[in-house]
């Protein structure tokens, strides 16, 4: 892409700006901020990636992944403020998912152990694990709010915390995984996945692009399942004390 054609892409920013101004939507400021931020962030990442790829050092790769995980945790923890220790619980979840998936990818030599593969794939895993954590926490706190009486009922009948919360936990796990599964059903029919489109535009063989995309899709199924279930099982015990009592304040968001 030439610098001129890159500059011309700004037309796509000007169109919504003009529309917003004409219709008085008041979105000009946000649109401008979003544009400037995306330019700075993406160029910064681009140059950092270039440096990391060229240096070919494991330390930089690990640092890059750690940074991604840090940013993801900061974003997701806001949704689970009501759960004690949620920051480390999300951190453990995302690290576990990353280690498991990269372990399989590299262990079976599915992808070469190079920064060019590890970093983008990690980005997708960490990003999806973060979204899944947010979806799970949203649903789980809502379920707990709506069904406190049922949780308390089971406790009152002599059930353990795990039995008391089982229905809410599985509902939240299922609900958070559904978007991942559903979007895969229409994959290729309704939309071409971003990564595959990018590869095709960059000149890759479409079949090769499809193969990589399948790898990512399957990877995201594991990411979704492990993220929700692990975070769920790490989260629920802190809603109870050692006398198997439901802690009051902590489910209030």
């Amino acid at each position: 892409m030439t610098p001129l054609s890159l500059a011309l892409t700004l037309i796509f920013v000007i169109i919504p700006l003009l529309l917003s101004k004409t219709l008085r939507l008041g979105l000009e400021k946000d649109t401008l901020i979003a544009t400037v931020r995306s330019i700075i962030q993406l160029f910064a990442v681009g140059y950092i990636l270039k440096f990391v790829f060229e240096s070919d050092s494991w330390i930089y790769i690990l640092l890059m992944v750690a940074l991604m995980i840090f940013a993801a945790v900061q974003n997701a923890r806001k949704k689970g403020k009501s759960i004690p220790g949620i920051t480390w619980k999300i951190t453990v979840t995302i690290i576990a998912v990353e280690v498991l998936t990269q372990g399989i990818l590299l262990g079976f030599s599915i992808v070469p152990p190079e920064a060019q593969y590890i970093i983008p794939i990690s980005g997708m895993i960490v990003g999806n694990s973060m979204v899944l954590s947010i979806l799970f926490l949203n649903r789980f706190t809502a379920e707990m709010e709506a069904h406190r009486d049922r949780v308390e009922l089971i406790l009152s009948l002599g059930g353990t915390p795990k039995q008391a919360i089982h229905a809410q936990l599985t509902d939240a796990i299922k609900a958070s995984m559904i978007p991942t599964i559903e979007s895969q059903k229409t994959m290729g029919l309704v939309q071409l996945p971003g990564m595959m489109s990018g590869q095709i535009i960059a000149g890759a063989d479409p079949v090769q692009a499809v193969q990589f995309q399948l790898l990512i899709l399957f990877l995201l199924l594991t990411t979704a399942a492990v993220s929700s279930i692990l975070l769920g099982f790490l989260s629920y015990p802190s809603l109870f004390n050692e006398r198997m009592q439901l802690l009051r304040e902590q489910t209030i968001d």
């Binding site: 009486d149 059930g159 353990t160």
Partner: protein, 242 residues
Amino acid sequence: MDPYTPAIHFRSVSYESGGKQILKNITGSYPAGKITTLVGPSGAGKTTVLKMCNGLLSPTSGEITVDGRPIREIEPTTLRRHVGIALQDAPVIKGTVWDNLALPARLQKKELSRKDAEGWLEDVGLGKEYLNAKATELSGGQRQKVSIARTLVNQSEILLLDEITSALDRTSRREIEELIVRINRKYGTTILWITHNLEQAISIGDYAWVLMDGELIETGESSLLVHPADPRVAQFVKGGSE
């Protein structure tokens, strides 16, 4: 001197939540095998007292004993089967009446027989045809009966009832009152019953606790509600009967 053996005893029990003092230094007993009613204005701490007996809440200070044993030494699930509770709104789990009755057994990884379930339903005055009815579609009175039957499945020796008749019509209320007395007589179950209905407390209860603003103001035979010694109780009784 207390003429009864206490099933549950509170010794200097206080409870604080969110910076608010809910119960203040309560000392008193619930006699075994008797029906004790808990009366008092809303916000007096009646439900808190009940939830403490079942271990859903713990005192901030003081001690509660059940059959002479400190509650904190009893494993929570064992305590909750021994001291059953029927909650105010009679929450039910999704599914049929059968699913609800089988729940306490399932929690112990046991099976409830169909025959036993029918027996418990009969105890609360519901026919076996109710077993397949959807629990959430029952009337308020029927739901309360299912809730009580579900508590009976655990064969608790102590039964806690939280304002279970407050949302019911006169006929259903009468039926539940008769049912509670029947359970008490048939199984010798110790019953603690929160009610805002003084007439009910006097006619059904053997014993009464009057709670106000987190304090246990008066306790004794139910007749204390007819001729209260404490002027605050007298005022409350007067207000309640008007």
